[in-house]
Symmetry: none
Subunit: 243 residues, 2 copies
DNA sequence: TAAAACGAGTTGTCTAGACAAGTAAGGAAG
DNA sequence: CTTCCTTACTTGTCTAGACAACTCGTTTTA
């Protein structure tokens, strides 16, 4: 039996018995000293835990211990549903990054604009009870919002659009798919790479003019999130984003 | 960008273009010489392919190339969208299994019936171009359809319900989530266990009476399937020039 | 006061070499 | 002919060291 397998099992029981989720594993060097093995062998052991979805590596910080029973929570009550109508329009968003793209072929097609158009991209992370749940990339044509990058400081993006630019948005189309997280997504969402994400790409139009003002891609942890499609009820039930 | 990522991508295209499944990759040492990198770096690159399910390591023999039609389609055009409205009601269904359940606590809650109620379950597999894409479990309260099990022989379940029982269905609620396949799902869908499924659970009511007549769970391969949510075609906004 | 630079500590990548373990084929011994 | 052994080649594991990249708190600087 390989050393790294032994160490992996040792760490596994140790995590279950002595650590809580949110804590960090001892550093690889410390573990190497403790077990009197090489750091690479420790890494190989931790690889097993990563693969099992028990821990998450964070470069520069450490190795984060995740919920012990992630896989068992799937399908359990811990999950909460969210009306698709409300997706992407949530107040407690934290800004992760801002970018200025020039739309390539693919993006242009999805945004219904000409290739080369300048497009703001704002990435936000939505947390619930301090737990990251959804990562959203908002794409907005620059010419509609020349000074948006200065204005937006977090919170409800759509409320800002309405307040400053007088725009009211309507979802025109939503595409729902599933995929596996990239390393970056895994990090931001604190979510194992071998668990699925629920994705929604949506085009939002200005309710009045019909012009596309936002294309967004949201990626949600599937262990605690699912989307609810309501029957077509009477509209205008979703007005208040602050609720 | 890391070297091993480059090499992994290079090998990926090479596999697609120059190799067939069943063949073996050049040995790690040969690849290391070819790319002028260390063997460990080659191994790290191949790790990526293993993780992606493209190749299989065989100690002492070599690295076997597997069927490689799946992973490339992800995110490509090969994917086709399907309106949620149409989900679960498709003609070219093949029957996989029939069951008679007595609803337990959980199922009863989801189906809005009393625990202990007898429930038909019919599993169907939907294929496209001979490729299995969606696995659907239909749950129907027995008392509504005493002889359904005899009647249904494949094809559109909902058409049969309408023809024989005079029932027209309306989707009341849809819950969309993502998950990993069980072994059985993986087998039926011919889909790797490390790729995600897109799931929809929906309750369908009789349009006239409002009684629940069907609860269904569909699981679709995420590599070639995504769900489309159409805008609400609200009759009141008919004059809208944007549509 | 605010921004920039630094430093300690962490994970990530790459190299280098050694030996273990498994496979397959060929040759030697029975 | 069959069996066993050797040999060559493959992947698997472990060690060792170096530096890159990143995080975070502290210190310095403007």
């Amino acid at each position: 039996m390989a050393i790294y397998e032994d160490v992996a099992r040792a760490l596994e029981t140790e995590i279950r018995e002595k650590f809580r989720s949110g804590e960090y594993l001892p550093s690889e060097i410390q573990l190497a000293q403790r077990f009197s093995i090489n750091r690479h062998t420790v890494r190989r052991a931790i690889d097993e835990l990563v693969q099992a979805g028990m821990v998450l590596r964070q470069q520069g910080k450490g190795t984060l211990i995740l919920e012990h029973s992630l896989q068992y929570q799937i399908g359990a009550r811990g999950r909460f549903s969210e009306s698709v109508e409300a997706m992407g329009h949530h107040p407690e968003a934290r800004i992760i990054g801002r970018f200025l793209h020039r739309a390539d072929q693919l993006l242009a097609q999805k945004m219904w604009v000409e290739p080369g158009t300048e497009v703001f991209r704002i990435d936000t992370l939505r947390c619930i009870d301090g737990k990251p749940v959804t990562l959203i990339s908002h794409y907005l044509p620059k010419h509609h919002f020349p000074d948006l990058e200065q204005q937006y400081r977090g919170g409800s993006l759509h409320a800002l659009l309405e307040a400053r630019y007088g725009l009211q948005l309507t979802r025109k189309q939503g595409l729902i798919s599933a995929g596996m997280p990239t390393r970056e997504e895994s990090l931001l969402l604190q979510y194992p790479r071998n668990m699925p994400l629920l994705k929604i790409r949506s085009n939002n139009l200005c309710t009045r003019t019909g012009a596309l003002v936002e294309y967004s891609v949201s990626r949600s942890r599937a262990d605690c999130f699912e989307y609810k499609i309501e029957p077509r009820q009477n509209p205008r039930t979703e007005g208040d984003p602050s609720s």
